[in-house]
Each structure stands twice: as C-alpha cells, then as structure tokens.
C-alpha cells in the first residue's frame, strides 16, 4: 500500500533537508520525496501534513522494555506502543531483563515478541557480561547473529577494567558499540545528587564524580582497544568536560543525555517525590546548564529516553526504598522541543540527535527518509500545547516527574515500517 504524506515541512537532518516536500511511501520503503507529488493511485492513502513537520521516525538508543521477566512493569507491546506515541520507530532495549539478555535465546525471544506484538521496531542490546555480573563475557557473537545492535551492562558499570578491555576488543569483530553506564559504585550508593539540595533534604547522595571517573576510565580503555565507546545518560558537567576533551583526541567517542537532565534540577527532589528518583540523579543547575551547552556544541550527540517504567507500588514507598527510573517515551520528544523553543538548538539539530546520529552510532539503515530507505516517519507539530497526564500513558509505567507539565510540541502520527503505529486523536484521519 502507498501512503502519500502531503503538504508538510520535511526536516531530515541525514539528507540536510529542511523544505516543503511531500513523501511517498510504498510498502515499507520510501519511494520518493518531491514537491507536490500528485495523488494518482486510487488506493493511495493521503496524509495531510500541511501546517505540520514531517521527519524520519525517531530512534531511541536507550530504553527498558522489561520483557522478559518484568511484564508487570512493561511489556514489549505496551512499551513499543508508548514509544510510537512519543514518535519513536526504533528503540534499543537494555539487557537487564530476567533472564538477562546475555545469550541468543533471550535475544531471539525479544525479536520474536517484537515482531508479533511490537508497534515499532525493537533493537536488542546484549549484555557485556554474563548475568551483568562483570565476571565473564556474554555470548556476544551468538547474540550478534541473533540481532543485537550494541552491548551494555546498563544499570551498572563493568567494574572489572580488565574484562571491559576484552569486551571492547571483542566488539571490534562485529563492529557494534559498547554503551557505557558510567557509575563508580564505591562513590555512589545514594539516591539524589550530592549538592545544595541534598544538604537540605538529608538524603544520601551520589556525587557527580561517580559518573565522571568512569567516563574517563571507559574512554581510556576504549581508546587503547581502538574501539568505539558510547557513554549513556550523561548528566554531570565534569563528565561533559571530560568527553569534550576526549573527542578532540579520539574520534570514536559519542554520548547521549536524557530529557530529564536538561529539564529538571535536583531541587525537584526536595519534596521527596519518588518520581524524581532516577540514576544518574537529577543534577544541579550548573550541570543542567552544562548539558544544554554540550547539546548545543555537539559534545552530546544523541538524546535518549532511558525509558524506565516501574509499577506504582515500587514508587509508592519511602524515597530510599523506591526504584530508580522515569517512564520517558511519551514526554521525551516534547521536552526536547523546548530546546528549540529556547533557542539552544535548531529543529534540524535537535532532530539530528534523534535520527541520523543514533543511526550512525548503531550502523543501522534508519533515521532518514532518503528514497529507498525504510518507511519510518513522523508528523508532529512543534507549537501544539498539551498537559502531561500520566494516567493517559500507554506505557504501564506512570512514573514521571512531569505530570501536570504543560509542554509545547506534540507528535501526531507515527509510521513505522510503512504501518501506522500511532495516530493522535487531534490528527484528522488519513
């Protein structure tokens, strides 16, 4: 079936396009992009995108879909529905499921479930080490054959630097990046950022150096192995300075941050709202300013969600006992559009951090609407205002600190692999 997306402003950073262009999708392939493509076929579905922006479907390099094992937090079905609503057509799911995705059976299971039930594409990330224990390498080659696109022990760092070195070396065989969760657990061990706010709240705190020292270590080890390293959910000024310096010397360093690290400061934790509990923690204003500057000067290449859905009861407890994480799919893009409204980034720059940059990192053929590429597309309007209501989330995880926030910019339509994966009620029927 053909879908003609007509009358919109096409912004595709991968092709350097920002112009009023129509997009014709044929099955799951982009057939062509051109001015005023005529509606010839009777069977052609026409999407009127006039007044809106058309872009490649977004790619999230860091999410938790929780299946297998934690289906009470999220499933591949609910997670991908939430992702599609947020504008994502490809999501990388982290390996900390139960069982851990450290072998091809789990990888195959995730891919099979995603084919059966997924609203968008799921790209599994394999564990670096068996059981995320940091002791021995997982079945990297077999998982690669089964379809993993990256490696990560996300949730913790690979503590053993010797093993990490072997992982970086081994990853060269498959040309897949290692995604580093940067946290030295001998420095962390708290619940909120260490700083003026933790002095007031009395909560045990995590200093920014817990992140920074592992950023420095992982870059050093990757560079020695001449392997790519992607540092994920970067939150602290010191880490960003270290990454900016490293990028000048070693070109295989990339990093991402998440919307909560430029939308909220640690002041939000003062009311003990457990929805503000996230790892790494919400940082101080100077860190937030540094994250924005790093987004602007391209020290930060990618914006990821770190979508971490949790069941209500795990957040409805004392702050110390609550789980870490924010359900991010359904607010990430709108929160990021604030960077455009504030003048930190142009729309094209912002979309680059959601499309072509993640595609390059993962060596995947998505994130562009160049003719012949996969029909992953979104239609959004950066000016529509709406209020976040966690009760309306498609994700099972309603754990968001943004409930009640008024956001500007809304995804209206998501087409993943040529199929309509999400249509906002505000968007008239095609």
């Amino acid at each position: 079936m053909k879908i003609l997306v007509k009358g919109g402003r096409l912004v595709d950073p991968g092709q350097g396009i920002d112009a009023k262009l129509d997009v014709l999708l044929s099955g799951n392939i982009v057939e062509k992009i051109d001015k005023d493509i005529p509606e010839k076929d009777a069977g052609m579905k026409v999407v009127d995108a006039s007044g809106h922006i058309v872009a490649p479907g977004l790619i999230d390099v860091h999410a938790h879909l929780r299946e297998p094992g934690y289906e009470y937090k999220e499933t591949i079905r609910t997670g991908t529905m939430a992702a599609a609503k947020g504008g994502f057509t490809s999501v990388v799911c982290m390996a900390n499921t139960d069982p851990v995705n450290d072998n091809k059976s789990v990888t195959e299971y995730i891919i099979k479930m995603a084919r059966l039930e997924g609203a968008c594409r799921v790209l599994p990330c394999g564990a670096v080490s068996k059981g995320l224990k940091g002791e021995e390498l997982s079945d990297i080659g077999e998982m690669y054959e089964a379809g993993i696109v990256a490696l990560s022990d996300d949730g913790k760092s690979v503590k053993n630097a010797g093993l990490l070195r072997r992982a970086f070396e081994y990853s060269l065989l498959f040309n897949i990046p290692i995604i580093s969760h940067c946290e030295d657990d001998t420095l962390s061990g708290g619940f909120v950022n260490e700083g003026a706010a933790s002095v007031k709240s009395g909560l045990d705190a995590i200093p920014s150096i817990a992140e920074e020292v592992i950023v420095l270590r992982d870059i050093a080890v990757a560079r020695y192995a001449d392997a790519p390293v992607h540092l994920t959910h970067i939150s602290a000024q010191g880490s960003l300075e270290a990454i900016a310096t490293a990028k000048g010397r070693y070109r295989k360093v990339t990093c991402d941050t998440c919307p909560h690290y430029f939308s909220l400061t640690d002041e939000a934790t003062l009311g003990y709202d457990t929805n503000t509990k996230v790892n790494p923690p919400l940082r101080s204003q100077k860190d937030v300013d540094a994250v924005k500057e790093a987004l602007r000067n391209n020290t930060v290449d990618i914006i990821a969600t770190d979508h971490a859905p949790h069941e209500f009861t795990s957040k409805d407890v004392e702050y110390n006992l609550a789980t870490f994480g924010i359900s991010g799919f359904e607010t990430a893009f709108a929160l990021s559009l604030a960077l455009v409204h504030e003048g930190v980034l142009t729309l094209k720059e912002l979309l680059g951090k959601f499309t072509v940059n993640p595609a390059r990192l993962l060596n995947i053929p998505y994130g562009t609407l160049a003719p012949g590429s996969t029909a992953d597309l979104i239609v959004f309007n950066p000016s529509i205002e709406w209020t976040v209501d966690a009760a309306q989330f498609l994700s099972k995880g309603r754990n968001t600190p943004f409930s009640g926030w008024k956001l500007k910019g809304k995804n209206l339509l998501t087409i993943a692999g040529g199929k309509i994966a999400y249509r906002d009620p505000l968007f008239k029927k095609a």
């Binding site: 700083g195 933790s198 002095v199 007031k200 709240s201 009395g202 702050y319 110390n320």
Partner: protein, 307 residues
Amino acid sequence: MNWDKKDLLGIKELSREEILLVLDTAESFKDISKREIKKVPTLRGKTVITLFYEPSTRTRTSFEIAAKRMSADTINISSSTSSSVKGETLKDTARNLESMRPDAIVIRHSMPGAPHMLARILDSSVINGGDGAHEHPTQALLDLFTIREKKGRIDGLKVAIIGDIAHSRVARSNFFTLSHFDTEIICSGPPTMIPPDIEGIGVKIEYNMNKAVKGADVVMMLRIQKERGGISFIPSVKEYATLYGLRKEHIEKAKKDVIIMHPGPMNRGIEISDEVADGPYSVILDQVENGLAVRMAILYLLIGRES
C-alpha cells in the same frame, strides 16, 4: 500570628514568626511541669501515637510525658513491636493506625522524607521526631528556646556547632532555625563530615575547632552518627576525640558566659569531656527539661486549639 499548619515536618517549612510562636507558647507551658499536680486538661480526649522506627530515649519519652501532662492518651509503637517486622509497609502501618482515629502521630524513621510521605496521606497531624539525616525540628526548637532563655536574646549570637555535621539532623534543623535570626553560625568537624554545600544555607565552615569556638556564645556538640556510617569518615574514634572533643581549654577560648549544649545521647570522653558535660557552662539537662515545654507547645498548636 496564627498557626495554620497541619503537620510539623521540618524547620525548613517554618517562618521566623512561626518559630517564635512555638517558643512563646512553650514559655506558657514550662511552668506546668513544676507544679505539684503536673496536669492540665488541654488535650483531654485526644490521642497521640508515637511511632518510632529508630531507638530513642529522650524524644519519645518527652513526647509521651508532654502529651500526658496535657491529658492526651498516648500509645507508643517502636519498630520491634510494629508490623514492619512482618513486612508491612510504613504507608500501610500508618493507614491502619489512622483508622483508629489518632489526632497526632509522632514518627521517627531512618529515611528522610518518611514523615512527609505520611503527612500527604493522613488526616492526623504528623510530627517529625527525626527523619534520617534530614531534620529533627522539635530538637532545634528546644535548642533555640534554651538559647533564648539563657542568653535573653537570639540576635547577635555566635553559635558553633561541632561534630558529624553531614549525618546530623539536629545540625540541619538548627541551621534552619538560627538562619532566621541575626546569628553567626559556624560549623566545625573533620572535612569528611562537612558537606561543602552547607555554606549555601548560610553556615560558615571552620575545620579547626579551636578557631570555631573562639568568641562563641553557644557551643553545640554532636556525636558521631555511627548508625549512618559516620565512623568510616574518620581514621579512629581516638583521633576524633583528640581533634574534636570539647575540653576545658576550648571553653577558655569562647565567650566568658558561653553555654555548652548537646542533643544527647552523649559519648563522654569522645566529643565531650566529663568536666565540660557536668561543668557550670553546660545546659544539657536544661535542654531536656525545655524539650517538654516545647513539645507541649507543638501538640497544643497542632491539635489542641479547636476544642
């Protein structure tokens, strides 16, 4: 000045006027404990529950006696007798207790924010009897009451607070009360026990204890919070006692009429020597006595006035 708060969660939420209202109210209650019949009917028919998940001698007893002297019924629950050992959550315990219609629940808990969580879900007044390293508001109020009583004023005083600042809820609450007044607040202790960001709330840091106590009107000593890992922040207790134990030589550096305070429990020979703890400058037992009046005042302001 009117009191319109349902709960007492911390000093951080109080205004200068509210702090002074508590102190003035406490003045009027102090004399009750000196009478032959130490009882007034102010809280007759009211129920006060103390729910303590951490050990306490002074605070729990003080709240109980304060409530009883005002004719309230009191029930004490401590962690070992509560259902927490059977796996019940704090929230469920509190909801169950509330079903028995208490008027106030005093809670002590090792986790900061636990009283705030209860305050959000309960209709009863919630009083923070100490939450982790966060706040201990009634302690700071009784400390301020004692300072005002002994010094006749609060403004213009130099107050040195010495010890394990990082893990001390008493220090935090005192910083918040004192910063409402024209006071010079100095904290001292090993650098590992003082978060640098504390200067952001109007406190000066002086690692050298001899300098910190110089010219002080008030010296408040704190113990090492072993239960919050305080011991791993110093090489040894012996070395700590040498560097930060209050002795007579320090008193000589302070103002002539300095008062020495300690929230208890004291570790004699560590943060305070016997001769100082029992000496003429010590107001440590006055603090305990004043604690009763201050807690009576808090109970009165929170649950005593509508009748």
